[in-house]
Amino acid sequence: MIRDAMKCNEIKQHLSAYLDAELDAALTEDVEKHVTGCEECQAELEALRKTRNLVAALPRVSAPGDFKRAVMNLARSGAEPSSTEIVKSKAKTQLLSMTTVLSLAAAIIAGLIVFLIFTPGENLVQEAAKREPRSQDMKKTPVPDAAMDKNRKNNTELAPLAGIASSGKDETTGKKLSTEKPGKGSGDFGYTWSDEEAETDPGNGRTQKNMDDVLESLDKERSAAPEPSNPAAEASPDEQDKSSNRKFENEPKELARKAPAPEKVKKTYKSERRKEADSPGEKSKKLEQNELEGTRTKEYVVVARNRTEAEAKIKILKRLYSTDEKQDADGKDNRSDFSELEEDETLLIFDLDPAELEDFQKKIYLLNTAAESFSEVREKEKKKQAPSKREETPQKERRPAATPEEDAGRPEATKRLPQDGNDSASGRETEKDKKESLRDRGKGTAGSTDSSKRIRVQVKVVIRNE
């Protein structure tokens, strides 16, 4: 009996090979003899056979049709065998990066929507629809100064749309941003650069006039700013510098996120005018921050849709900031002739202390974003109300309908109808007053600031659609 058990265990070791016909003749004969008389080993052999058949019955897979081509392409290109894994890893990394970016973008958009909806008293779209005169109607009839003032005031209320508004709080960071009173100041950019104005010869006064309106708005805002309340100004120079940087550290990034994906800038300012793209709006992008000869240098870009708009915007900044003491440190005057610009040429260079820089960043931000936001709002409003408005004012003089070519890319914005003459100059500070006001403000807010803390600001222009 024990001998039989030993025989069974020995035979079982060979059953698999017996099934596969992999035993030599002598061993095969031994197994056959034992199995014939042993039910246990017979059952074991049968179970192993079924097991083998189950495995063998697994369906086969085949390579895809283009497998050979893919392999040969890789082989001929000299790809290393391990490159397939590398490619996979890279793809995973890229996918992760893209996922992260998309998540961030979604969060920002959601935050922006919440901000727009819940900003007290400023349901921007609705308010704009209620009070903004449509640009079509404004084209038909001259707009009196009072109406323009009203328009400007309304635009001030729309300012939060630009992201840093006079509400004084950055919704993203939760930090107090503005040093100005709510409802006043930095948001007063009621001007939108239309193609029609941009295509007008700057010499005829129309563009200049509208630019003057913006200057006026800026001055008004500036004078309304409660300087002593600036916490950054009250801080020590070091703290002030850090504070200023901290406050606006995220701003350009936020701006870049909020803006649509930047198009490739085909040409810079010097480029010939091309057909305007159909997407209105401007973008702003802070390119880089670097240390230069011990002085911090920040580079900003004014984005414009066309040359005239760019020129006007640069003039605004120039008139605001290019005072004598803010001349280029190299002794070179800031640019005044815009006709012969080089690629990526820096148009304005001036030094600002941190408090001034804060204000400057707002200006740049608003210049590059406010008009677009207004444009979008009013375009919606126009689409909504234009038919009924035409019926209400049939007696008004109407401009000839614009051709599709003219309409292409035209922003439907808060465009004030250009007025003949120079009436907008009334009540406005003279150039000298402005410069003095700016200087005074600089002293008031950062008068104690060490000059070594001043920041070199460089401004460039990008023509988006040229």
């Binding site: 070791q13 060979h14 059953l15 698999s16 090979a17 596969d20 992999e22 179970a47 192993l48 079924k50 097991t51 083998r52 189950l54 495995v55 063998a56 019955a57 697994l58 369906p59 086969r60 897979v61 085949s62 390579a63 895809p64 497998f67 050979k68 893919a70 392999v71 040969m72 890789l74 082989a75 001929r76 790809a79 290393e80 065998p81 391990s82 397939t84 894994e85 996979k88």
Partner: protein, 193 residues
């Protein structure tokens, strides 16, 4: 001694290397794909590893002397590629990959690259798929050394000699591993018999 198939291949390689290799791919791609798939359990992963296998073969074609059959040579590259991949994954601390394809009995049948089995009866197909899923799960649960001999022998029908050559081990080792592997599978699949 040069194998006859290997001699033909070497001759073709001498005339046109790429053309010869394309013919080798045509002849072996499905078999290579199949054994890799059954070893790793995921089609996409198997595809990558099969591609890597052929790339290695292409680079090592000049080193092929014809001492074994071409497909045996390719199998060895494939098995080594899979084992190396598994070792790296294990070193990286990745959990053992359990194929999502096999969590459901339908999955084998859903794979677009499966060869048709000729059955049009849905219930039979489903039952077969369920059985296949269980069998594959049992194979997956085998240790690497046992799984590879099962795949090479029972799925590809290679002889013990060929398996031993591919795995670079004695024939007796193949025999004992296969017996142990089948015994383990038998216990796991008892309910299907």
């Amino acid at each position: 001694m040069i194998d006859s198939d290997a001699r033909v291949l070497l001759e073709k390689v001498r005339v046109d290397r790429d053309q010869a290799f394309e013919e080798l791919i045509d002849a072996c791609q499905d078999r290579i794909m199949n054994i890799i798939y059954r070893m790793v359990g995921r089609y996409e992963e198997a595809l990558d590893l099969a591609q890597e296998t052929f790339l290695k073969a292409y680079k090592g074609l000049d080193g092929f002397k014809g001492s074994s059959k071409p497909y045996t040579w390719l199998y060895r590259i494939a098995v080594n590629t899979v084992l190396s991949h598994r070792r790296k994954a294990s070193t990286r601390g990745e959990a053992k990959i359990v194929s999502l394809d096999r969590t459901s009995g339908q999955n084998d049948a859903n794979l677009g690259h499966m060869l048709p089995d000729g059955s049009d009866n849905p219930s039979v197909t489903a039952e077969k798929s369920e059985t296949n899923a269980r069998v594959q799960k049992a194979v997956d649960e085998l240790e690497e050394d046992f799984r590879v001999v099962v795949v090479l022998r029972d799925l590809e029908g290679l002889s013990y000699e060929e398996v031993a050559e591919i795995l670079d081990c004695p024939r007796g080792t193949v025999k004992s591993r296969l017996h142990r592997a089948r015994t383990m599978l038998k216990e796991k699949l008892e309910h299907l018999m």
